[in-house]
Symmetry: C2
Subunit: 530 residues, 2 copies
């Protein structure tokens, strides 16, 4: 059995070293090293990762997010700095998602960071789910607060007292709000950049409807947007489905999710969730309205969120031993143009051609930049931008200049393509589309190779040991999932349900649950997870 994954290890080391490593960061591929004299071109690259994805996934991941300049470790454990290279990805997803929800008449708002203990504790199941992770403010300046104040781990209890106030009649429905904000969950297990951090950025939508039908429909509309973020933007295949009773949102009616899978660790990862809260919170917070017949009714509610975790999933799925691999749609730099001058060659002509290339591409709406730094060799620059995951590199040397062409090199598969300068924008656009599609196709193929259909407990255990994403017929009983968890407990973590896919294979009459032997009612994905 492969060794367990210890994320926390390398991170904590990094964190502790961060202020003592100054000047010794040989592997840091930026221009930020001291002692670099002008014109002294660095030939040694030394940019490679010290860990391989296949061998030490946890260490590899931590190294990639730092060396690609996405993340800086912070001096408070579990908190991370999102550097511009990752923040730009967040902004691009936001530029897609925000207009989409506005089309659905969902409006942005901003509720406070702080929650008073009274409302936080109003919904019993909900507070049980979050209480151990809640951070409490007890002091301001030198004064103790009269009552401690919680920092939102999520905003159901922050918002719903006001939904109760604002909603009176059926004309006030639906009420559809969203906010982009930070939330805090003071977790102590395995903090991992993007994937599990004590503070993270997300959007949280909170909607209230007159009928369950409307709520049900919205849950799926939002889930489809989450699928599109993963599949169309991050090029990560996901499975849409419903969470089990054990795994659903604390206090909700049912939870749907998009589930991704990390082949290297054999772990599923919940990509984003769209919950139908039913009328449970409405009952606790007295969110009532007078319906069209003049009768008092309770609203039906949803809440849904995706977070900066999305970025971590993308890194894990596409990254390789050269570093990050960015899908073109979310890359803040899609094309990096690098001059390759030679002795006696027309250096100025090459530089001009690079600038012209950037201009042509920019005008065509492609995010292109050039790297004219004179203290790094072309080879160093290749490695640097590969580490940062730029989808396409364009090299321009004397021969390219003579032939009125550029050389394009793909980050995803290393393929080299010569492109006539005259066709530049059209061909590069095609190439970027192709890279986007190829990343998705390759990731889907790898994910699909990990899916194992099983029918018995023995097959289940074997597949689990092989780090598979397991599709199994299940009786859908809470106790059975609890039992599976108990029986698979170990240092790698217990197996649990990931989701019951909406796209259900045929379940022949008489199929039995792999775990309980009772009649199976559905196919469900199982596995270890993040």
């Amino acid at each position: 059995m492969p060794p367990p994954i210890h994320f926390v290890h390398f991170q904590e080391t990094i964190r502790c070293l961060s202020f003592t490593m100054a000047g010794t960061e040989a592997k840091k591929p930026s221009a930020k090293q001291s002692g670099a004299k002008k014109k002294e071109v660095k030939k040694e690259t030394g940019l490679g990762l010290t860990h391989r994805k296949a061998d030490n996934f946890g260490e590899w991941y931590s190294e990639v997010v730092v060396n690609a300049e996405m993340i800086e470790y912070y001096d408070i454990s579990g908190c991370y700095i999102l550097r511009p290279w990752s923040m730009a990805i967040w902004e691009i997803m936001q530029e897609f998602f925000d207009p989409e929800i506005k089309k659905m008449k969902i409006k942005n708002c901003y509720f406070p960071l702080f929650v008073s203990p009274g409302v936080l504790q109003k919904e019993k199941d909900h507070v049980e789910g979050f209480a151990p992770e809640v951070a409490w403010v007890t002091k301001s300046g030198e004064s103790e607060l009269e009552i401690p104040i919680a920092i939102r781990p999520t905003s159901e209890t922050v918002m719903y007292p006001y939904y109760s106030k604002w909603i009176r009649g059926h004309r006030d429905l639906p009420l559809k709000l969203n906010q982009w904000c930070n939330v805090v969950r003071w977790e102590f297990s395995n903090p991992t950049p993007f994937i599990r951090s004590r503070e993270f950025l997300w959007q949280e939508g909170h909607t209230a409807f007159a009928t369950k039908e409307e709520a049900d429909a919205e849950v799926l509309d939002i889930l489809e947007l989450y699928r599109r973020i993963y599949e169309e933007y991050l090029a990560v295949p996901v499975i849409k489905g419903k969470k089990s009773e054990l795994e659903k949102f604390a206090g909700g009616l049912y939870t749907t999710s998009v589930e991704a899978f990390i082949p290297n660790t054999g772990r599923g990862i919940q990509g984003a969730t769209s919950h139908c809260l039913g009328q449970n919170f409405a009952k606790m917070f007295e969110i009532n309205f007078e319906n069209e017949k003049g009768e008092k009714s309770m609203v039906w509610q949803n809440s849904w969120a995706y977070s900066t975790r999305t970025i971590g999933v993308m890194v894990m799925v596409h990254g390789d031993d050269k570093g990050l691999v960015l899908p073109p749609k979310v890359a803040s730099v899609q094309v990096i143009v690098i001059p390759v001058p030679y002795k006696d060659a027309d250096t100025q002509g090459i530089f001009d051609a690079c600038s012209a290339t950037v201009n042509t591409l920019s005008e065509a709406g492609i995010r292109a930049e050039s790297d004219f730094r004179d203290n790094y060799s072309p080879g160093w620059k290749y490695s640097h931008w590969e580490m940062k995951g730029v989808p396409l590199r364009i090299e321009i040397g004397p021969k390219d200049l003579a032939n009125k062409q550029v050389r394009a090199v793909r980050r995803d598969n290393g393929a080299k393509i010569d492109i006539a300068s005259a066709d530049l924008a059209v061909e590069i656009k095609k190439l970027l589309d192709n890279i986007q599609q190829n990343l998705f196709d390759v990731a889907t193929q790898k994910r699909d190779e990990c899916i194992q259909v099983i029918h018995t407990w023995d097959e289940f255990v074997q597949a689990l040991n092989q780090r598979k994403m397991i599709l199994a017929p299940w009786c859908d009983e809470e106790e059975v999932e609890a039992d599976v968890k108990a029986r698979t407990k170990g240092e790698m973590g217990a197996a649990k349900t990931l989701c019951s896919p909406f796209d259900q294979p045929e379940l022949p009459e008489g199929t039995k649950c792999f775990a309980s032997g009772k009649p199976a009612t559905k196919w469900t994905y199982w596995g270890r997870s993040y």
Copy 2:
């Protein structure tokens, strides 16, 4: 002397009532009242404000922000809910500012909410300025934290240890980052929506340069963007200038600001600030670099921010006794179209004309909506949308239909204009531009009427009592400002410098400081302030 302004009063009342007032909110102008039966058209309006701007400014302000549905009071004092009506204004300003700073090669990032005490306390003057207002997290779940963790009141100390790490050589400069985030300042005096709240939203830019000249230039470039936000978007005139030594940012070298003025209260208000931090933080946080000559140097730094306070200034300046008045450029609804059906008239035709009007305007890029609610009279709707400050109302009745026209009514001055349907988009666009300009012109005229040039202490005291914005010759000595503060202390608050305007009137040789009698070195604005 007019009575002092007590903001806190009405707010706290509102806050305490918020959960007991259900069903009795007669003055709330939304459709959210219970008991409204279908087709029972409400004729009584009862929408007016209970306080007048000229009589009870503080209460008027609190009422406007609540009744216009910008703000909801929250159950933690000093925290406010930003409802979609105000959030949209914030987003529109962001859509202007964010691309502008990106053109300046400033990149967005996100640093953690939390600061460890060690770094927070590193810069002495800085921490003294913020320490009394810092909120501290001391617990997570049921566990005490080993060391308390502060919530950022601003992010200098959060960010600069990493600037020290990232900046090595001159090629790493300039480093220009910005973040959009929330900050917390646990103030106890007079919380006021937008203007002074314990949590607020802002952007904070933090930049580092090799030379003072570059830093100086950026300070002014950013200040110009802040001027444009106020003058071009919020239609609020501001004065650009430099803060006094007493009023500058704690720990910085100098502070520039845009200063607005609220004629009704006779108070200046700092609109946004752009600080040159000099090398002070660089020294404390060891932000050094090797310059082009290979010598060790210290960076020059700036920080600059504008916050949701901008929205409050706009409300105070333009609002009137009918409610909010929104400048068209920041209004999420610029035109509200209201059908005015009569008995026996072609109701369907009127509704169709309203829909067609909204379509035509939307296609022309104007933010237009219709109000087809059937349980409110046209008169009620007029008052409702006036309360919410929509710049232009379009009424369509049988006569308008017959004449192939619409009637437009301006929110700023109540003027009624008939517009031929054929010219709709062009004429409405002109009108909106005109309203935007008129709001700015009227506000500028009112502000200018409050400016009083004085030369002596007696004139100063008289002008202060008349709630003027005082322009006075000053010796620019810290002790003299401290002395003026001490001498003007009272229940309305002491007078202080607002700024020394960049646009300096002539200062004749031999002019004396109004307060000290020493030779004056500059003209400076003085007054009470928020």
